[in-house]
Amino acid sequence: MSWFLLVGLGAVVALDATSFGQLMLSRPLVAGTLAGAIVGQPLEGALVGATLEALSLGIMPVGAAKYPETGTAAVLAVGTLGLSGLPPTATAFLLTLAYGVVWQSLSGATVVAGRYINEWLVQAGRGVIAKRMDRMIERRHVGAMILDLVRGVLVTSAGLAFGVPLLRQALPLWNLPAVVAAGAVAVAAVTVLAGNARIFADNRRGAMLLAAGVLGGSALLFLR
């Protein structure tokens, strides 16, 4: 049952990313949490999603840019962790994260392929004004969205089918202390997050606010 729900979520998330809504259900933080809720690990799902969110914060879907698809990757990464039945340790987090990052790029390539299919779909038979041009455009537009939904199903199914057995096999073979895994995730997230300072803190006021935030975050750590 969880498997089907995850595939359904992957389809919705794929559709939300570009084709329909863009309500940001497709952001890794949201998609990861929802996937986590399906497999009974909402907090772990949210943490994997938040890490993928941190790693992709600066990616912008500007114009015709090609970019990784982070939403479906978050669903299948968290789904892989949950369906594998393995404990959500820092090591499992790292391997799941690495798997999600790889799938972001593969899934992004299917988005590009879908856009070429759309090109063929919307252009076919456009030479003359059809008697019901309005109906034809509507059918093809809705058809393109259905194709995107199917793409989400296929990407999520493939990611889960490959990922679950892979993680089960791989995790016992991983041979570094858990602190290395946790450290790698922390260093990666902080480095990429700090890269966004160029966008938000490129003047004196921004730098002051950033510094105030760092002080606030550090104070929170001391108070815990």
């Binding site: 863009q22 969110e53 919307v122 995107d148 290395v180 922390a186 990666a188 997050l193 966008i199």
Partner: protein, 249 residues
Amino acid sequence: MNRLPRSVVRRTFLRSFTIQGSWNYRTLQGSGFAFALMPVLRWIHRDDPQRLQESVQRHATLFNAHPYLAGVALGAVARMEMDGEDPALIERFKNALRGSLGTLGDRIVWAGWRPACALLGIAVLLITMSATTAVLVFLVIYNLGHIGLRWWGLQIGVEYGLQVGERLRRAPLGNWHEGVVGGAALLLGLVLPLAAAGGLTASRVSYWVLMLCVAGGVAGWRLGAAARPPVMVLLAVVAVAGFLLRLGQ
């Protein structure tokens, strides 16, 4: 001046959520634009099927804008069609407007509102460790801005038509963006130490990891977006190293 019925404007608004549904490398959002404008065109040309088909054909050509601000163009074009403007003028107007709407939307939404809300969601998660609260805060606040922007854009488009560019220039979007970016800087600063302390894996990290995080933070600040590819390589190297050590034993 005739007015568009509110039900027609509402249907166009709802359809604008699918403007990128058939996004492609030839017409970009073109088909989506025609799809969203269809209720307006059907209402205007309700007594002339031939003109309806011709106008649909005209609007299914190349168009691209930020999806949240495409409503500005949709509303303005709807108004111009209502006023019976020359199709060549409408086409020139669309061409002139699309670049500005793309640039403006990319700046205030993709480089401002969205990352600011995402940082807020991450901050709430790392402070409260409540996934539900974090996701609800992110979705509700983000979509208040998102849906509000879509609705406002369509409304000013319908109201101002050809003069919508002037109305956009008077809008306080620049000040709003400055505030959002300032908030994002504060939230980014807040999240950095929490992430460095192992918050994202719900585990404690040692002092040498904290030192590496500080070094990584400085490197990230210097490199900007260029920091991402080497970090992805670093993650892959650590992931693979764990298996290679096993093989070496």
